[in-house]
Structures are given as structure tokens and as C-alpha cells.
Symmetry: C2
Subunit: 411 residues, 2 copies
């Protein structure tokens, strides 16, 4: 098997599973319990959060653990509410907690929000978990350039005094395109200064989904100027069902769910201890091998591009080294996926979730590809399950299958 779909899912690495194991058995205690073994579990949980936070230049108290990137992205958008719970607030307890609003009190949603009360801008190529929430909030799309990068002029033109949140992923999940977030942050800083001068009190926050980039880029939230950052364990050889949202001092969130008041009252529910321990180990390993992996994937990417034939390269520049997005004109990529699978090579046509719904990729459309080009597009994403040998073998198999398909279409 040659697995080239690491952007869709990664196996849990052995070291991660080893780190998790004790927390399934001996260290199974509820972190909220009063006795010492439980307090030790609570301590280890916080330490693990610290490790995750440290990897992005933050502190444990800056992180809200979630069940994955989707929940983290959804949680980030609660920042556009008039936050009643500060991230540094103590756990809500007793009657005063009753005042703390939660999205889960669904009654308020009987009357759907109108287009003009959710001042959100989001990149047109964002993942569905950002797009759908942003759409709900009447958010406006920021255009991308044909190279997949955010159109900074379009961004500047669309920011108004009502804009409160801008959401741009660190690296795109279909193309791997790394966005110039530091430049976006600089624009935001300017606008905030200007607002200050003019006495406009609306806050302006930058949210970024870093799911795909966490193990391939050196991320520092302060240096990048990010207020809200989405993290995902499942894409970096950690367990599925675990993610986190980094929350800066500037952002005040509201919980999506209410209950025991865990995660500073912003995400109730007994802590997924094993999951978070695994996440910490995964991020630790990722950081340890960051440079080595980047070099490796960069070499393999070049090898793939040299060995493969008859393709058009879609993500030419500004991409994560592990992403190779190709277009075979006139060929149905869905058939290619099927034919490659028969030869033990697993690839994707677009984002896994979009692909399974039979919807044309909005990302490839946004960068200006024609319907035919989109239909002929393959996404290969390299990862830790691969070897150099596999890369050459995959190129050979893909070339053969594409040739067969081209011949079939000729006849």
C-alpha cells in the first residue's frame, strides 16, 4: 500500500499510542475528582496542554481543548458575540453562571441572524467548518489570487468598521497553500490603529485554521499576530476527535456547550485525557522532526514532479512541501482514484469530505480552474507512512494508469 492522502487522515504514531495507553487503564481517573491520583491526572492533562501550547508559542491557559478542528473553528466564531465569559475567567459555578450565555441555548436562534449583524470576512478557499459558520453569520468571502494566496487588496477593500473577525487558514487543505498571515496581521494592526485614532471601538480579530500546517510549519502565534488558532491532532499522527483553539487575550468567547465548566467554562465535559496526552506527544514529535520532514517532503515532491508525466501542476508555489496537486486534462480524476486504488495507491480528488459528497471543489474553482480541470485534479499528500522508494513506485504506477486511461479515451 502506498498511502498518499495524509491531508485526509494520518495514523496514530506508535509513540503517541504508547503515551496514551496509561490514561486508558491505570491513569483513568476523572481529573475533577478530589483524591491525589485524580489530581495527578489533572496535572498531567494541564502539562500536556502546556506542551501543545508551547509548540505555537503560547501557554496552557491560552488553549481550549475541543473534539477536533471543526469544533475549534465553530468556537472561534463565538468571538464575534459580545463575549460574556472571558477566557481567563474562573470556572462558572453557582447562580452567577446562569448569566453566562451559551450558544447551546438554542432558543435565541428561532429568529435567524440577518446578513448585517455578523461582521466576518473569510477566505473563499476555507474548509467547510469555517465557511458554513461564516455563511451563517452573513460573512463575506475574501478572494484568492490564481496562485491560491489571499488577495490582500480585496481583503483591505472589504474590511469595514463593522468587521470583527477575519478567518484565513494557515495552509489550505486542498492545495497546501501557505497564506501570508504576517502580512494580513500587519494590515489588521494598521486598521486597529486607525480605528483607535477615530474612536471606533469595534475589535478586529484574526482567526486561522492551522490543521494542515501544524507539523510542517514553525508556528508562533505572537509572531504571526494571530488571535485565534485552530489545531488538530488527527492530521499530525495524533488521535482523531481531539483539537484545540488557541485564544489570545484580545478574544472573548462564548461556550458552544454548557455543563461542568471545564476548560475555563468554555468547553464543558469530562476531559479527554488520553486524547490530549496523545495530542501533546504528536505535536512534540512533529516539532522534533519539523526540519527533517520538510526537507524530506521537499525532495520527494521534486522527485514526484520530475517522474510524473503529462500533468499540469496546480499548486506551483507557496505550498506545504507535502502537497502535490495535479491536473490531468480530459481525464476523470475519480476514475484515476479508483484505478490507482486497484494498484495499491491511495490518493484524493479534493478534500476528503467534499469529495465524498460529489460536490465540485470550491477551492479549485476559487483559483480559477475550469470544470474540466477540476474534474481531472488529483491531490497527493506525502507523509510519515511513505518511503523514498514508495514515491518513485507511486510515480511509475500513476504514469501507467494515466497512460492506460488516455489510451482508453482515444479508442
Amino acid at each position: 500500500m502506498i498511502y498518499l492522502d495524509h491531508a485526509a487522515a494520518t495514523p496514530v504514531s506508535e509513540k503517541v499510542l504508547e503515551a496514551m495507553k496509561p490514561y486508558f487503564s491505570d491513569e483513568f481517573f476523572n481529573p475533577s475528582a478530589a483524591y491525589l491520583p485524580a489530581k495527578k491526572v489533572a496535572h498531567n492533562y494541564e502539562t500536556a496542554k502546556g506542551v501543545i501550547a508551547h509548540a505555537i508559542g503560547a501557554k496552557a491557559s491560552d488553549l481550549i481543548i475541543t473534539a477536533g478542528a471543526t469544533e475549534a473553528n465553530n468556537l472561534a466564531f463565538t468571538a464575534i458575540l459580545d463575549g460574556q465569559i472571558s477566557r481567563s475567567a474562573p470556572r462558572p459555578a453557582g447562580p452567577s453562571a446562569r448569566a453566562a450565555g451559551a450558544n447551546s441555548c438554542a432558543a435565541a436562534l428561532r429568529n435567524a441572524p440577518s446578513q448585517d449583524i455578523c461582521p466576518v470576512l473569510y477566505l473563499s478557499t476555507e474548509h467547510d467548518s469555517v465557511r458554513r459558520v461564516a455563511e451563517q453569520c452573513g460573512g463575506q468571502e475574501i478572494d484568492v489570487l490564481p496562485n491560491g494566496l489571499v488577495n490582500l487588496d480585496d481583503l483591505k477593500a472589504k474590511i469595514t468598521d463593522e468587521t470583527e473577525l477575519i478567518s484565513i487558514s494557515l495552509a489550505n487543505n486542498e492545495l497546501g497553500t501557505i497564506q501570508p498571515l504576517a502580512e494580513v496581521a500587519a494590515i489588521i494592526r494598521e486598521i486597529k490603529l486607525d480605528r483607535l485614532k477615530r474612536g471606533v471601538k469595534t475589535k478586529l480579530l484574526l482567526h486561522s485554521d492551522a490543521s494542515q500546517a501544524l507539523n510542517l510549519l514553525d508556528i508562533n502565534v505572537a509572531r504571526l499576530g494571530i488571535d485565534l488558532l485552530t489545531l488538530n491532532a488527527a492530521k499530525i499522527y495524533g488521535p482523531k476527535g481531539v483539537g484545540a483553539l488557541y485564544v489570545s487575550h484580545n478574544a472573548k468567547l462564548k461556550p458552544l456547550t454548557l455543563g461542568g465548566g471545564q476548560e475555563n467554562g468554555l468547553r464543558s465535559g469530562t476531559e479527554n485525557v488520553a486524547g490530549v496526552i496523545g495530542f501533546a506527544k504528536a505535536i512534540e514529535l512533529a516539532k522534533e522532526h519539523l526540519n527533517g520532514n520538510r526537507k524530506k517532503y521537499s525532495t520527494w515532491r521534486k522527485a514526484l514532479l520530475a517522474e510524473l508525466q503529462g500533468y499540469e501542476l496546480i499548486n506551483k508555489k507557496h505550498s506545504l512541501d507535502s502537497f502535490v496537486v495535479l491536473c490531468y486534462n480530459g481525464i476523470d480524476a475519480e476514475r484515476l482514484v479508483f484505478l490507482l486504488e486497484e494498484k495499491g495507491v491511495y490518493v484524493a480528488t479534493g478534500a476528503a469530505c467534499a469529495a465524498s459528497k460529489g460536490v465540485r471543489s470550491h477551492v479549485l474553482k476559487a483559483i480559477g480552474l475550469s470544470d474540466e480541470q477540476i474534474a481531472g485534479s488529483l491531490r497527493l499528500t506525502l507523509g510519515e507512512t511513505n518511503t523514498e522508494e514508495q514515491v518513485y513506485e507511486a510515480a511509475k504506477i500513476i504514469n501507467t494508469v494515466v497512460r492506460q486511461e488516455q489510451n482508453r479515451l482515444k479508442n
Copy 2:
């Protein structure tokens, strides 16, 4: 170590972890991916959901997998919205999905809900994850009798034509009290008939949190007349961070988070495959050992009550066999927890989450205990980590510690 806090947390059983393991490594694929190994994972995930559903007399398609009981409880309350997404609706995709409302579009919550638009009744002894949401919705408490059972007269008196949702846990998390849900359902049926006659179109749903009861009671949603049932893997020797909400045909929910449209569009995010596989194995084992365990815990409970000295029994009747809630008048239970811990016996003073916040238990207050009684209350919950020997040993240690403490107080 003698662990008597199984209501707070249970270790993942060996068989459960064995069942999960392949899904961390070889079977790690994203269930939404297009190739066969991923489809196999998707199939196994659905099969596991079927096993969980079957255990409560339901089908896989009736379940929404969540990150635990707290999220499931929160999700249940979205049923009081004018649900726009039916549980049987296909995954939202494309522009039409934009109309599907989500709680996560927080904008609508700028204006907090008023007391009169959330027609919810909930038992006064519910867990915080029900209480907080219900409070947010302006919900009204249903009283309990001194024995911990729902006061059915109070329930009947409080149901109005505006009541849409009644939330009563199957078994209480501090007392183990098993509620007469079939009787509640019968009352609801009568009211629905009456509403029908009078042309009142408001729906009336019964939600129940079965977190504590799942491995100790034989549950059948149809027989019990339940519309929404909360399940939790972490309390039945499955992994933390996995739960589910059973949703009947009568109930229409709205998602708490938006994204890729997993779980029928009601709970987006890549599926926690390993977690759900583990949940299924845990529930399978629980059902297999249901009768044996009940008999065992019943015997052990009697042994504890016979061996222990100088206590007042709080949960005299109608309780799960594994719960023993005691009161030692004039003694500080928090000190007892500490002293017992020193001798290797781990118990709780109340619900783990309430206990750690230093808040007096609202449950013990609701059944009419005085502050002094509450301060002297211990919760012992039996489970699979225990042996008969441990039960007798624990009784001996508790007796000794209580005697010492009584002597200390005398001097």
C-alpha cells in the same frame, strides 16, 4: 488501591482497548475518503453505531455521535428550536445547506433569550450539563420527592401548552436514583392526546440522560417512551470523549457545530472512529454482563450496608445497585475522602465536578438534606475494578477512619 468512584470515571477495559487499537494504526483512514480501505472504516463505524443503538433498541441512523454526554445533553435541547434539519435528512451540501441553522452562528445570541420562549421542564437533581442549558432556556425545575424520585404531581402541574421538552435522567449521578420514566412517558402520552383533541400543535418530547445507567439497566427507548437519550462511553469502561444522542422520529435537532456535514449534518467533524469502536465494544460487554453485574453489585451493596457502622443511608430505595450514598452526621466528608485516600480507598463526596468546585451538592439539597448532612455525605460507587474482598476491606477501613475522626472531634 480500592477504587469506589466508578460514577466519576471508569478505566477502559482491556477488550475495549484491543478493539480500538487497529483504528489507531492500520484502520486510520478518513471515513469520508473515496478508496476502499476508507469505505471499510466508514462501514465499521456505522456497524459500531448499530451495536450501540441496538443496545437501547434503536438503529444506527437514530444516533448522533458526540464528544460525550455533555455535548449530547446540549444537543438534545436544540429540539426546542423549530428544527430545520430533520435527523433523517441527507448531509447538507451546496447552497441549500446555507439555510440550515446552527447554534454555532452565535450572532443570534446577542440578544439573550427571555424566560418565556424556552418551554423546558427539568428535574431539579439533573447534572450541570442539563441544568445549565435548561436555565439558559428559562427552564423550570421539577421537584423531587425526599426519596429522590421525580414528583409526578409537580410534573403534571407544571406542564403547560407551551412545554416542549421534559428532561429527566434515567439514573441520578449522585444518588443512583432510577427515575420512573415509563410513568413520565405515560403522562406525556396523555397530554399529547389531549393536545391533539384541543388542536394544540406544540410537540412534547422526553429527554433522558442515561450516562450512569447504561451498563446497569436494560434500556429500550421505545418501551420507555423516550424521544432523546444521552449515552456516555466513559462511564461504562469505554473511552473518554465519546458519547451519543439517540434521536427519535419525533425530534428534530439543530447542529451545535457546522462543517463537513457528518452525522446527518447534525455533528460535523471527522469521525472519532477508534472512540466509537471502543464505545460499541464497551456497550456490548456491558449488556453481556448486565445481569451478573447487577446481582454482584446488589450483594456487595448489602455487604457494605451490613459492615459499615454509624452511618445514615441516603439512597435507601430506587437506586442503581452500585451506588451507596451515606451520611456521617457531624463529620466532614471532605476530610474523610482525604483520610480514606491515605489508606488507599478512593471515594467521592458528591458528583466529581461539583465536588471539585467546593459547591454544596444541589442534588442532596433537593432531597431535603440539611447542610450538615450534606457536609457529611459520601458517595461510594462500585464497579468492575472491585472484588468482594475489597468491599469488606473498604468497609473495615471506612469504619476505622470514621471512628478515628469521631474520637478526634470528641477531644
